[in-house]
């Protein structure tokens, strides 16, 4: 019991390290995950589709400390999002259980 907590913390720490400026974003892995999840059907890098462009999202969160946390929430909890015509629908929940893979995609989006 007592052992699990420090281990978890250690795991998260190393994750954070891997995701910080030290590690480059894996471009291919991010695109593959996004593709598998139909993200590109609603978001393009540089133009608005059904959802905003990744560049616009990156600009919105530029320099914000909670950027990663917000995106994580957006992609894992299915919040209501507003479409351009004013109607609402639940945002797609990403189908990966691998936090590293998810973080890589988020970093990829934030660095557009």
């Amino acid at each position: 019991m007592n052992l699990t907590k420090p281990l978890l913390v250690a795991g998260l720490l190393s994750l954070n390290l891997a995701g910080s400026a030290l590690a480059a974003v894996d471009d291919e892995a991010a695109k593959a995950l996004g593709k598998r999840n139909d993200c590109f059907k609603c978001h393009a890098v540089d133009k608005a589709k059904k959802g905003p462009s990744y560049q616009k999202i990156a600009a919105k969160y530029k320099g914000k400390a909670d950027a990663e946390e917000k995106l994580m929430k957006n992609l894992t909890t299915g919040p209501k999002v507003k479409l351009e015509d004013g109607t609402e629908e639940e945002h797609k929940i990403i189908d990966t259980k691998d936090p590293k893979e998810l973080k890589n995609l988020i970093d990829w989006i934030l660095s557009r």
């Binding site: 695109k31 593709k35 590109f40 059907k41 609603c42 393009a44 589709k49 059904k50 109607t87 797609k92």
Partner: protein
């Protein structure tokens, strides 16, 4: 099948002669220098049963509303490799493919080049076949010892999938063209014409339903094929056809799409592509096609057989398939069928008889040359400019058209094709006009 052989054959049929007569000069499609004409890659993918109705249903997740309001498919499906991903998924068993064909490819690259002169538009296509042979064979009439029966069926048919029958069907390259008069075609292309209820689609029609349908009985049809939304009161229900009078009005206003099919068995051997259109049905243009059925309506025996004095045989057997050209051409190698010629079980005669001479009217507008080499078809369709027939879209220099492409490969028909999202084709459009494919003016 060597290139030289085919060109010689076409010359003998007088095709080349046609191209060079008249006051305005027309290019010989075999002599156009295609290496100087830009090529566009058009991705083709297997669409399964993604019908007009499915696209507007909740099963098309998060997209039904947008498709209903007329958004273009590529407003969403434009990510890198979109067509490849769609095709590779849809070709496998799943909600949109109840009858998967083993080993079929989900995706094909289609290379498209276009040119025109004062007389014609020339569209050149190149694509790879799944098989190591050209799909020039088509269905046969086979003698079973007593009677003649159709032999060889397309690969989406149950009898073929169950291994009870060989898959035989000609390869095809088809294009659907509109000049901006069909609402929605510029955005959603061929998908406007693909509906539940059609052959090999969800909720396929029954004979009784068709027999009870006022529109289909008045146009004398016994199944349900491609139709455009405007031909129905409820576009999502094939049974709700408008009156023939209303449909004729739509047709007169240009609300149909031209459908040209190059057929590797039924038009290629006579140097042509067929000419049809889609409105309330997939219809042939007025006049007479270059192919017609070879089975006698009452006895179902062949009407023609090969002329043994010209080709060395009156019929073939199954082991001779794909070994040489098995085309039955009325003016070239056919004689009337002789019921007393000593037929044996297994003898096979083509189910279709071809004739360039007999092809007439608007149905005979389109020419084509083709060759198959090292696993690849090269087809050049020749479409006259400025056609004035009521069932044709007139192509003009400077014009811009919406066009969809489809290749039927590996012994298959109906929806078993690889298709494209809609593209634009320009005929020498001015600099600054953006089109996917711009035909080059020939000197």
């Amino acid at each position: 099948m060597k290139k030289t052989v085919l060109f010689a054959q076409i010359a003998a049929l007088g095709v080349i002669g046609v191209f060079t007569t008249g006051t305005v000069t027309a290019a010989d499609p075999a002599k156009i220098n295609w290496s100087r004409i830009p090529a566009t890659n058009v991705p083709l993918f297997y669409p399964g049963q993604s019908s007009y109705e499915w696209l507007r249903s909740d099963a098309h997740k998060n997209a039904a509303k947008e498709v209903k309001r007329g958004d273009s498919c590529t407003s969403c499906h434009d990510e890198e490799g979109a067509e490849k991903d769609l095709g590779n998924k849809l070709v496998q068993a799943g909600p949109l493919e109840p009858m998967p064909v083993k080993g079929k490819s989900g995706y094909k690259d289609l290379k498209v080049q276009a040119a025109y002169d004062e007389k014609n538009a020339y569209l050149r296509f190149q694509w790879k076949t799944d098989n190591a042979y050209p799909g020039t064979e088509h269905q046969y009439l086979r003698f079973d010892g007593k009677k003649w029966e159709v032999w060889g069926f397309p690969k989406l048919d149950k009898i073929v999938q169950d291994g009870q029958m060989m898959g035989i069907y000609e390869d095809r390259m088809s294009i659907m063209i509109d000049d901006g008069k069909v609402p929605g075609f510029a955005k959603q292309g061929c998908w406007l014409s693909c509906h539940d209820g059609q052959r090999d689609m969800q909720k396929q029609f029954t004979k009784a339903e068709v027999a009870a349908n006022p529109l289909l009985t008045s146009i004398k049809k016994s199944d349900v094929r491609k139709y455009l939304p405007e031909s129905r009161n409820d576009p999502s229900d094939w049974k709700t056809g408008k009156s023939v009078e209303e449909i004729n009005k739509i047709k007169a206003a240009g609300g149909f799409v031209d459908l040209i099919q190059w057929r590797a068995h039924r038009s290629y051997p006579v140097g042509m592509a067929d000419d049809g259109y889609v409105l309330e049905f997939r219809l042939g243009d007025a006049g007479k096609d270059m192919f017609s059925g070879n089975a006698d309506a009452t006895t179902h025996a062949p009407k023609f057989m090969w002329d043994a004095s010209k080709v060395g045989y009156k019929s073939i057997t199954v082991d001779q398939l794909h070994q040489g050209d098995h085309f039955l051409i009325r003016e070239k190698n056919a004689v009337p069928f002789d019921p007393n010629a000593g037929w044996k079980e297994g003898d096979m005669v083509p189910d279709y008889i071809l004739s360039r001479e007999d092809a007439k009217g608007s149905a005979a507008d389109n020419n084509a040359i083709a060759s198959w080499k090292d696993g690849m078809w090269t087809v050049v369709m020749v479409r006259p400019l400025g056609l004035t027939n009521s069932d044709d879209k007139a192509l003009k220099a400077g014009g811009v058209y919406d066009i969809g492409f489809a290749a039927h490969d590996d012994n298959i028909t109906t929806r078993g094709h690889h298709v494209s999202f809609v593209k634009t084709l320009g005929l020498g459009v001015a600099k600054g006009t953006k089109v996917d494919i711009n035909a080059v003016k020939l000197p």
